[in-house]
Amino acid sequence: MTSSRVGIISIGWYGFSPSTPEVSFREMMFESSNRAYSAVGIDPRKEVDAFVVCQEDYWEGIAITNEFAPEPLGGVLRPTVTIAGDGLQCIVTAYQLIKTGYFDIVAVEAHSKASNIATLSKIYEIALDPHYVRPLYAKNPLFLAGLEARAYMERTGAEKYHLALVAVKNKNNGLNNPRASYATPLDLEDVVESKPVIDPLTSYEIAPFVDVSITFLLAGEESARKFTDTPIWIEGVGWSTETGTGAIAWHEWGRMRFLRDAANQAYRIAGISNPARSFDFAEVEDRFSYAELVALEELKLAQEGTAHILLESGDFDIDGYLPVNPSGGSLSIGVALEATGLVRILEATLRLWSMELVEEAEGRAVVASWRGIPSFSGGVVVLSL
């Protein structure tokens, strides 16, 4: 273990569009990685100590998709490992590797080639518990999100229009983000007047999918300062799983306990005692509208049962007390399969960089990501300038 801080020193990306027919997933990985390395003049063949990739077989359509990881990253004959988890978990892994004191510079990559998948809904079905849930033959495996949303509304008194307000906020926020393919000017009426797809969620409240590859470079403090004047420090990390996908009876509906546990861990490491007053902005889970409100409470950015009230009063607007998903979030950018967590960290990092000269800014942000239906896993990172 080393007391050295861990910093993000470079990011490269390719895609952020609904489909990318011009490249294979491997070429996309090369493009994002090559950009990340060249931005800071790092030779991955010599200077990167380990390569961490977040991906999952059925998303790729390849059993043992790890086979394809080393070449496009520059990781051939070097330590390269696949983490079957959300991209945020890969950032946690890189953080751990550097914290051992044995690794200095670590590359992290995750990508989504969702446009390659012809039967996306069926892939979600394969993730459902084979004994209890799959035999229900639900037409849409995302029905679990509807159950969550209803349980959340029941507990807090939030109404359908509160959920709609999340979509309105995020879809409009994305209009200023060149990476937000699904941003659109939207008002509350557009949402509340459209028919639910999964009761109570309308199509505006369910994030679509996007193709992207993102590569991060993380480094220990000394190297980080060598390669850049403005590393974004990872002040704290947390990750947790509430229970298995086959144990939905144990899940506490309408909550994300795993985000609460992850946040507690990340705040402890970062030394944050009053989260609601510690951040300039938050990039949090919003692949479904309700998820943003639940996440804000689990991250202690809003008191129990108040997120929807604060939202309605404009506290989470881009010019509000605590801007939430100023990037437009997944509702504007899209769900990038296992790269979703990296999208959030990328947006947070770019925004922190843009705040460098803003005097009144704390220069600190919190990012939270969930692995999506039907998992009960997620993570939190605290970033600072």
């Binding site: 999952e56 077989d57 359509g61 070449e71 004959l77 330590p79 914290k99 799983t241």
Partner: protein, 392 residues
């Protein structure tokens, strides 16, 4: 990579547990994971509440037929409101599991880790081999309708050609490992057989016969890793993780010299360097090289630098790698003898070194004194090397 002169935070293995390895088991994937986890916890006199973090290892999701398999195995593996991660490097996963557990502890983020590997190959039918149809490059390889055994047979043939080994020379490994497994409580394919039996068994893809290959298995295995202070409280005989190493070679296995696994050597060098081992062929007392096929054990012994190139088969013939030999390899019985529930088999190998270094292997205990042991696994398209060096 930083030179690792002062290892401040030593990491130890303090417990291990396995389920039976069998062709078909009644238990679900989650139940198998739990059975192994429970055994490991009991062996260390710990309870789940003593565990900070969970690491899961499992190979293709398609075997169990569950997408996001790590999430599915979570509760069975003890990940109930705990930090959990699943690592995945194909067949190399089993040894990647303790490597990942090592960085969880060495980073200072977790004091104790329960590391669980599980594989249930029986649900896939008519045969789990069908699952392997999807490991190939979808454009250049899959249209040829390949069988997984092809690539191993191609590699074995190349090894035989370059190193001058005969089928008989290679079959000796299968005979040795299946006999070693006779004393293993979980073994699926333990047997007293002869070289002739191997040569007379069904030819699958020449030069590979049925008895050159490990069986298809269900099973799970678990380890407990802990920070030094906790390890010393829990047990009088912690087994230290002295070195870890892993590398991946290119995806394009048919663009490489198959007679020698350079990726295993690179991974081994990384682990030996960390462990301060300069002459592994002298300093390593016992080894568990990955042996899904008999030739692979020889191949990997050379990659681990425990024998000169192309010499492993000659040494095997002299009994050098027997349980009573100078450098016992696969004293557990290996995958050929104990069975091959992919990720769990790799953890089983690490567990065997753990028991051997604690002198707890009973009937399987090697005859010589042991100080340093190495376990290794291999995977993907003949490109992964994962290596752990342990000491007592």
């Amino acid at each position: 990579m930083k030179p690792n002169i002062h290892v401040k935070d030593k990491v130890a293995i303090v417990g291990a547990g396995l389920t039976l390895f069998r062709r078909r088991m009644l238990e679900t994937s989650r139940e198998l994971a739990w059975e192994a986890a429970r055994e490991a916890l009991e062996s260390a006199n710990l309870e789940l509440k003593d565990i900070d973090c969970i690491v899961i290892g499992s190979a293709p999701d398609a075997f169990d037929g569950v997408h996001l398999k790590g999430e599915y195995l979570a509760d069975g593996s003890g990940a109930i409101s705990k930090p959990m991660v699943r690592v995945y490097v194909g067949g190399g996963t089993g040894v990647m599991v303790p490597i990942a557990a090592w960085w969880h502890v060495a980073s200072g983020l977790c004091r104790t880790v329960l590391a669980v590997a599980e594989e249930k190959m029986s649900p896939a039918h008519p045969h789990p081999q069908g699952v392997f149809a999807y490991i190939w490059d979808p454009v250049v390889e899959r249209p040829l309708g390949p069988n997984l055994l092809w690539i191993f047979a191609l590699e074995m043939r190349r090894y035989m050609h370059v190193c001058g080994a005969s089928k008989e020379d290679i079959a000796i490994v299968s005979v040795k490992n299946k006999a070693n497994a006779l004393n293993h409580p979980c073994a699926q394919a333990a047997a007293k057989i002869t070289v002739e039996d191997v040569l007379n068994s069904e030819v699958l893809v020449w030069p590979v016969h049925r008895l050159d290959v490990s069986p298809v298995s269900d099973g799970a295995a678990a380890l407990i890793l802990a920070r030094e202070d906790i390890a010393r409280k829990v047990t009088d005989t912690p087994i230290w993780v002295e070195g870890i190493g892993w590398t991946l070679d290119t995806t394009h296995w048919y663009n490489r010299e198959l007679a020698y696994p350079r990726y295993v050597e690179y991974a081994a060098r990384m682990a030996y360097k960390m462990a301060g081992i300069e002459r592994p062929w002298k300093e390593i007392d016992i080894a568990e090289p990955y042996d899904p096929f008999d030739y692979k054990e020889l191949h990997h012994i050379e990659g681990l630098m425990l024998a000169p190139r192309c010499q492993a088969w000659r040494l095997a013939r002299e009994g050098y790698f027997d349980r009573t030999g100078e450098l016992p390899t696969s004293p557990s019985g290996g995958l050929l003898g104990v069975g091959n529930p992919i990720a769990a088999a790799g953890v089983m190998k690490v567990a065997e070194i753990f028991w051997q270094l604690r002198y707890e292997a009973g009937e399987r205990q090697v005859k010589k004194p042991v100080h340093y042991g190495v376990a290794q696994a291999w995977g993907d398209l003949m490109q992964v090397g994962t290596v752990v060096v342990l000491s007592n």
